[in-house]
Symmetry: C2
């Protein structure tokens, strides 16, 4: 009995995700689902991305948080449309489910957009389990989290197309070996594009922005 | 129908948690459920705690990870009994549920222990939602995660009795204001004991260890 119901929920999720993917495709919008631990620097990376290329990327944002609208406010100053989803009223959900994404997309002017960035709830585990109709998932990992994270939280790294290793400015102050981290990433997903960046200093952010730009070629 | 089943699962969880609490009380064991994001430094804090006071605390450990036994191996060298739970085979669960805790406790020599430290799966969201029969929850927050985390992930801070703000050695290299962080912690839970520490340099770890020792007085 239980299994049947769980299956039904998952099927409904998948159907919604497909619907979202069609809606995005119809509008020529490329959607990136950004996943990472609390404080990995997802919002600052988006700020830097918009500073560098908002005019080209024509982004909209779906901002997922359990509580507060702080991140949405930070992104709104770039003049990009931002929809905040607070999961607090929905049981404090640890991820963004496709029904919330679909509702949020209705609030975005898809006609005017080329990209939608979904900043998922800060959590390296659960968001990776949900397909939300996005074109790709990207992991943001703070270097301060340590070199073993791809091995300990493999699903996110398996599901993603790219990982941004953020806060590289902290490297001299951490006991983290970048070579080991790179090896651990490759061990979990050899096809993952890896960007090493500091959203704080902007070092390395350019390559990430070029990667996103590349996603829009021919669209 | 769905609601009924979910309720049943939650009730079963609560019943198991009560059973675990009774088992711990019968054996005079104090259990601390350690919750924090990936890479917040939970394992290193336990290593420092055992270096300082394993003889007095007589600890056992339940180590929760989706994958790998790396953390259990780090703790085993202190000669303390460690049970590793890998949630990978259980759908990559994002938290430790009470049924897993009860099974793990059966593998620990409770007669010989005064404390059990449960290192939960690295996740600031979901583990806070589950009572596992512990005596208290403690949050480990890495300073690198930023000063806004209590506001954005309030449940863990509300459920906990103490928070260890870890990696204070990074303070000169971060844009984090400790006063703002302290205010944010107090705004969410004014009764929370706050320890500022660097498990790396051992700075401030002593106060945390004294706090744990204090929990055992008269037991």
């Amino acid at each position: 009995m239980e299994i049947k119901i769980v299956k039904k929920v998952l099927e409904a999720h998948e159907k919604l995700a497909e619907e979202i993917a069609r809606l995005l495709a119809r509008n020529g919008v490329y959607a990136i689902n950004i996943i990472g631990s609390p404080g990995s620097g997802k919002t600052l990376l988006l700020e830097r991305t918009f500073e560098a290329a908002a005019a080209d990327l024509k982004p909209g944002v779906i901002e997922g948080d359990i509580a507060t609208t702080a991140d949405a406010e930070r992104l709104q100053r770039f003049g990009v449309p931002v929809v905040q989803i607070n999961t607090g009223p929905f049981g404090g959900d640890c991820h963004l489910a496709p029904n919330l994404i679909r509702a949020a997309l209705e609030e975005l002017p898809l006609d005017d957009l080329k990209t939608v960035f979904v900043e998922n709830v800060g959590n390296l585990v659960c968001p990776a389990e949900f397909n939300i109709g996005e074109n790709e998932k990207v992991v943001v990992l703070s270097l301060a989290e340590g070199e073993d994270k791809p091995l300990k939280y493999p699903l996110a790294f398996r599901e993603a197309n790219a990982v941004v290793v953020n806060k590289t400015d902290l490297l001299p102050h951490l006991d983290v070996d970048l070579d080991v981290l790179r090896r651990n990433v490759a061990a979990v997903n050899a096809g993952l594009a890896v960007f090493e960046a500091s959203a704080k200093t902007c070092d390395g952010v350019g390559s990430w922005v070029e990667y996103v730009r590349g996603r829009l070629v021919g669209r």
